[in-house]
């Protein structure tokens, strides 16, 4: 009887700890990990952020200029661009499915490609 109860407590504790750990890890990073980089309506790059182990940067050029993108394990952002408003840089890390990083002057969109709980987010 005592043994069964001990086991129950241990199992419950393990489940709770792993639950808390999973929540903590997933909330500090994007829940969805597949990111599309779109220019002028075409997907030019797809990155699975869960498979990124080392940080790197790369530059996308278009007729009107460039955007330099920083990729780290579980996150992505624009760190440099020669667009007129720099809104893409100010947006910081891609944080949710509804708000992609957008560079209007260069027609660039960085967005999550997986549907999460919702099909769209109204804002």
């Amino acid at each position: 009887m005592f043994k069964t109860r001990t086991w129950l407590i241990i199992i419950t504790a393990i489940i709770m700890i792993s639950g808390i750990l999973t929540f903590t890890i997933s909330s500090s990073r994007l829940k969805s990990q597949n990111v599309q980089i779109i220019q002028d309506g075409k997907v030019i790059e797809t990155i699975d952020l869960s498979k990124v182990t080392r940080a790197y940067t790369f530059t996308i050029k278009c007729e009107s200029g460039y955007n330099t993108i920083s990729v780290e394990p579980g996150r992505i952002c624009v760190i440099d661009a020669d667009c007129r408003d720099h809104i893409c840089m100010q947006q910081g890390w891609l944080s949710d499915q509804a708000t992609p990083i957008v560079c209007m002057p260069h027609g660039l969109i960085i967005q999550l490609s997986d549907a999460s709980q919702t099909d769209a987010l109204t804002q």
Partner: protein, 336 residues
């Protein structure tokens, strides 16, 4: 028993196979009208999406307030213009809504919005005298329509930005219907319009964004409806610790500040949902509820700064609160 299960699984596999073969998913994301747009359709083709993209760009070029070749630019600079169908359709649908909302929506607020710097991002707080002077030229009733010709009074200028996205999503949905598409979702910078159900027969799940977290505070499920939100948190500036949002009350000339963080309108006409989301955001919670109670032909979700979500009765059983910081209140169908 095992045989039965095997045949069931086989049927299921075949059915799923058939469905995915006939209803291939096509998506297209692009930037237009100062926002991003994403269209997902089941059936149809990539070519159809390209055609739609060109249509959106055509509307953008026609009604843009800054493009010197646009009809609205010409109208604002010459106070008179012969316009084509898009401008005509938007104006003839939106002006009655300006009237119906007692000017809470006013397409001629543009000079005031400009004075606050929201069009150029060079933000400033205009003097009360400047606002008073500019408000003299704000009056949607002075926009005259006759035989595809639009005239404005001197010193007036209009901007169709508060209704164009809704008009465009509606046009896309109509275009997709004409191409026999049965399932699609259009997301125009957070203005969502759905066609039919998802391919598995279920409804579309739409999140309503919490300003604080950027994630869904609540979700609703819909089909064949537009869901359009106006919120003060999307574009604003801060000066001396005061936050000024981009939606200007046409009666005062000042940014709206009424305790409402967003108004979401759910209905079957994109332009009307777009117009009402702005107008009822301007009106504030109590007057927005009174407007609903005298119309009943749309649904609404009001989110307030004190973390309440007010929902119309038809959606009170559909809405799911995800963010525990928010509590739900159901709007009464009739006035107390």
């Amino acid at each position: 028993m095992i045989k039965k299960m095997m045949s069931f699984l086989l049927c299921l596999t075949l059915l799923t196979g058939c469905q995915s073969a006939t209803l291939e998913e096509h998506t297209l994301s692009f930037t237009a009208m100062n926002t991003y747009m994403s269209i997902r359709i089941y059936g149809g083709s990539d070519d159809l999406l390209q055609e739609i993209k060109e249509k959106v760009e055509e509307i953008d070029a026609t009604v843009s307030v800054t493009n010197s070749d646009s009809e609205i630019y010409q109208l604002n600079h010459h106070h008179q213009a012969q316009v084509t169908d898009h401008t005509w359709n938007i104006l003839s649908q939106a002006l009655p809504l300006c009237q119906d909302t007692d000017g809470a929506l006013d397409l001629s607020i543009y000079p005031v919005v400009k004075a606050w710097g929201f069009t150029t991002k060079k933000y400033r707080v205009p003097s009360s005298k400047e606002i008073k002077n500019l408000l003299q030229h704000v009056d949607y009733r002075a926009v005259k329509l006759a035989n595809q010709q639009v005239t404005l009074k001197k010193d007036m200028a209009i901007d169709l930005g508060s209704v164009t996205k809704g008009y465009t999503t509606q046009l896309i949905i109509d275009e997709l219907k004409a191409h026999h598409i049965k399932s699609a979702i259009v997301d125009f910078g957070g203005n969502v319009h759905t066609l039919g159900h998802k391919t598995d027969g279920s409804q579309w799940t739409i999140g309503v964004k919490a300003p604080e977290t950027g994630e869904a505070a609540a979700t609703i499920t819909i089909n064949d409806l537009a869901v359009i939100t106006s919120g003060g948190y999307e574009r604003y500036f801060e000066e001396n610790g005061h936050i000024y949002c981009h939606i200007i009350d046409p009666h005062t000339g000042y940014p709206v500040e009424n305790g409402v963080s967003s108004v979401t309108i759910i209905g079957d006409n994109g332009l009307r949902c777009d117009a009402l989301s702005t107008a009822l955001f301007v009106k504030g919670k109590d007057k927005a509820i009174a407007y609903y109670q005298s119309h009943h032909d749309f649904d609404m979700i009001i989110m307030t700064n004190d973390h309440k979500i007010y929902v119309t009765p038809d959606f009170s059983h559909v809405i799911k609160i995800l963010d525990p910081a928010y509590t739900l209140e159901v709007i009464s169908d009739v006035q107390d």
